[in-house]
Subunit: 346 residues, 4 copies
Amino acid sequence: MAGSSFGTILKVTTWGESHGPAIGAVVDGCPAGIPLEEADFESYMNRRRPNGGPFSTKRTESDRVEILSGVFEGLTTGTPISLLIRNSDHHSGDYDNLKSLFRPGHADFGFTAKYGIRDHRGGGRSSGRETAARVAAGAIAAKALRLLGVTFETRVISIGGIPFEESEKIASFIEECRARGDSAGSEVECIARGVPSGIGDPVFDKLDSRIAQGIFSIGAVKALEIGDGIRASSSFGSENNDAFYMEDGSVRKLTNHAGGILGGISDGSDIRLHVFFKPTPSISLPQQTVSLEGSDVPLTIRGRHDPVIGPRAAVVVEAMTALVLFDSMLLNMTARFSRIQDFYRP
Amino acid sequence: MAGSSFGTILKVTTWGESHGPAIGAVVDGCPAGIPLEEADFESYMNRRRPNGGPFSTKRTESDRVEILSGVFEGLTTGTPISLLIRNSDHHSGDYDNLKSLFRPGHADFGFTAKYGIRDHRGGGRSSGRETAARVAAGAIAAKALRLLGVTFETRVISIGGIPFEESEKIASFIEECRARGDSAGSEVECIARGVPSGIGDPVFDKLDSRIAQGIFSIGAVKALEIGDGIRASSSFGSENNDAFYMEDGSVRKLTNHAGGILGGISDGSDIRLHVFFKPTPSISLPQQTVSLEGSDVPLTIRGRHDPVIGPRAAVVVEAMTALVLFDSMLLNMTARFSRIQDFYRP
Amino acid sequence: MAGSSFGTILKVTTWGESHGPAIGAVVDGCPAGIPLEEADFESYMNRRRPNGGPFSTKRTESDRVEILSGVFEGLTTGTPISLLIRNSDHHSGDYDNLKSLFRPGHADFGFTAKYGIRDHRGGGRSSGRETAARVAAGAIAAKALRLLGVTFETRVISIGGIPFEESEKIASFIEECRARGDSAGSEVECIARGVPSGIGDPVFDKLDSRIAQGIFSIGAVKALEIGDGIRASSSFGSENNDAFYMEDGSVRKLTNHAGGILGGISDGSDIRLHVFFKPTPSISLPQQTVSLEGSDVPLTIRGRHDPVIGPRAAVVVEAMTALVLFDSMLLNMTARFSRIQDFYRP
Amino acid sequence: MAGSSFGTILKVTTWGESHGPAIGAVVDGCPAGIPLEEADFESYMNRRRPNGGPFSTKRTESDRVEILSGVFEGLTTGTPISLLIRNSDHHSGDYDNLKSLFRPGHADFGFTAKYGIRDHRGGGRSSGRETAARVAAGAIAAKALRLLGVTFETRVISIGGIPFEESEKIASFIEECRARGDSAGSEVECIARGVPSGIGDPVFDKLDSRIAQGIFSIGAVKALEIGDGIRASSSFGSENNDAFYMEDGSVRKLTNHAGGILGGISDGSDIRLHVFFKPTPSISLPQQTVSLEGSDVPLTIRGRHDPVIGPRAAVVVEAMTALVLFDSMLLNMTARFSRIQDFYRP
């Protein structure tokens, strides 16, 4: 089944394995006339890149995005934008001992149960490497949104349960984690500002519903909150309802417990998400697992792995949110017949 | 935009407003040969029905599901199954004073911002009433799943933050809530047992990704956890990874922190979800809002409303999960070419 | 597999069998604010209705379209429009002798091969009756198009190879056909005027590609021509190319061999289709067939059947074309980023 | 709008412009375990390649298909197969004089009307060059079908109305055409043998309906016949109906006027299509057109162009048919619940 496409008007298809020659994305349905150059991808790709700092793998990825189609003389043309990112720095050999094993916490067993075959090198298709293609695609959506007045603020909230602003504590926590071959969970917040009201479609394509699909499609995500999230489940209606009021001729809300979405449709306030990642499943502590042949075997994973997922995945959260928001804004243009009449008036 | 359809092979389309003549669902792509009669819907519909008990509205809904097509001589035929549920017990008059107001916590403002028009009676399309159609559709999926060995256990975990098993405390809490015209949040757990391994599709159609879309399409859901959920974000990889082992020739896991899904594909253990609902937004305490004309106005909502959403929404959670699981199991049948060759071997 | 839905933004789902209690359509994604009442369906439904005249069955169908949702105070609301058409005048008994046979030229064998089960009464889902639901849905699209300046001219061109304007010859031809228990093929032309240029999407969703899907989804269609159609295959480029020229500041074409579509995108001239129907497969002449049990058996079909399909199917051709055109016009609104910026400019 | 994807389970997305660095296709949803190597594409690509013979352009295209993902150790893995074909032999300069003109018979005007911008070099996205990507994708479907017992026979039937077997007449006709700078129309027949009965989905996803979408998505197609096609519209039911009979325990048909599809579902006999192409719109005879600025201007097209489309497009017809057939066979696997029970039986 074809699960590598996302979106309705703006449709992104990603492809590629961790240790193949390249990965990429095709962004179809992108409106014509958006200024776009390879440099537009850089800041996004940089946020995802391992920086050799405390949170990331030592693997280096240059991750230059090549535009193969859909852009002419610096503008999108409305035709599919094919983006290519070459893989480099292969250490496929690192994975030879994993060929006939299922790594705990990974997709290895699921892929084998499903397909009867898998590219075991570095997780193949289920590798975090795949998200580079989404980030490239999301950079286009984010650029279009910025031109439409929508901006993002995305940051790591906590690592291993420790608030991220307590930076020294975090640094030593990560260092200890890495030193003993372990990994830690993390939490990311993403806020989208400037989203107009009216975006999102009842019933199954509610804005939160589509965001949720996008966010849970990121490997390692185990929970999502919108607005107050879990806290709403222990509050009263009199606390949780956001009162409306008028300001400068616009409808505003006194509070934003809802996180910017009511009944699946944006209400004009900030859209606020909290995303929770499990710890990196690749740890170098000894683990117990089974082999393809069906025997219990001990496992020790070698290779270079991020000890925590959130710091590099924050931009992936933002990219998926941007893809949903831009697509939903495009879909929203046909909601009122009077505007369609205006559009086609001779 | 068409947001009222859900699913790929098994495609459900719901329609209808709270105070129109009827609501319904069309279930297309349902395989032929499933025994189905109107009684099959009863237990599901009963779980959603207000029972006059402490958690629910006094509005009565008989909610008999009429099958208009797709079933012949007691078996599904493979053609679309049209399900009709008549609306009754209208008190549209209850909503007259809400016609020109936006109720806090409701979709009123979003619908108006989007469409410039709305059926204000009882929330119209955004009413919880819509979920009756999904529950009817979900009953078909649940029946098919049961015949395939998949069962559900779904229950309310907490109300207003109070564990549901503390029943006396809950009852008095709800009573107080109702008495002062307020409402409370709630939490529901849904466990699916017997799902084979290999179900779900990388990348954007991961099993958790599709479940998330389904769950967040239920009004009032503000958070979703899969497996350990938020807890995973503060744990270590050495704790969170589920070790594999062999038992009776099958691959098993020693623990199930993952909640039955690894890398977006089922691993054969229980699929476990926690769903968090905000408090019912319709409260009879005085609130502040604005009118269609753009003035600040006070609001007092009359009418009959559940003081808490979880107890009646639990079956909606189960229904959406069943729809995703059955559809994903159908999609999974084409994953391996060798099985396709077996299927078409003369 | 779910094959009963059609369209991307404007999505139509039909349901129902010939001899069940009702058939219907759900039209989702219809923009809000289109004036719509049950009377809007009448002229369309009347064109499809058997009129007791020479071309049609004696079965009577009142075919009143009931609107169950999506319209409030005379305007579409943007939510799904559920349309219901009750079946009446059942003569299911007419079909008892066909229960265990495959009628030549019908879908009986295909449905049985596929599903292993079928509702044999009157063709069940594969009955021409199903098209009543599409015509109802198409009436909404046609109304919207009319308000946008697009009109249709649809007519029967020939029956049994005889030009339709030779009316006397046609009448006697049909009468002879019916008298000897036979049926005849037919040809329908549909012209859409006023379609703006730029409608349709490269590559697989070309306007002609989507029209072709819609037209061939009408039972009994065996050929489709766009513009000059087959004639183009024996002409020269110097004849077939339509020269452009300017008139009143607009781009026009001197000729319209292309039938209004170039490279899959409308060019502003009339869109012109020719649709070819096979003869009604239900004939009362003796035929040879096989039984469900696998024996050769003779067959004589009783019951009331149109001797020719085109006259009643003309409005179905128009309805499908209208659905494609309106959907494509909606899709086209997001083609240029500058217009999206205009739309969302505060 | 995203029109560059095709298919439901097996989903093909093509990208690329005629004079960009490359074109390509992503084939998602392809079952795992199909043997595939780059050589598998060769015979298909060769049939599309200009051979310097009488029917084709002098432009040379090596058209090697590179597999960038989805194949591991010679087998498909179930993940998206990314295919890349580099463009070479650019003569972009040939198109400089066309930058500000609309070529008659081409998509130039439509693209400009739609997007307000276009890559004018060699037709950009609307170039016949795009079909190379589909042919590569179709080669995978064709290989899978061959392993399932389905084969194709595809050939040119006529050029300029002259039967193709009259080879000498054809050769001199083409030579004259080319000599005077003109082009000619053509007709292609495609027969698929060995398709099992039961393939295709009522109502809108009928097998003929999906084939029609695929065929009309090929540029320059102006008509499609299935089975007897237009001839059926002037025949009698007693002639056109195909009688069923039993042979060796199987249901067979005495004739095949239907072309292998009844009621949208395959009946086990040969599927037979006739496809009609207009003449190549690029002719070097003087033409009349208009400029981007809105003036009437004369036009003479230089550059290398095929004088007739059918000979190279025959394999494109076969590729699109293969994509539809394989996808429809995959979709068909979920039609019967008893088979789903067999599939999932522990």
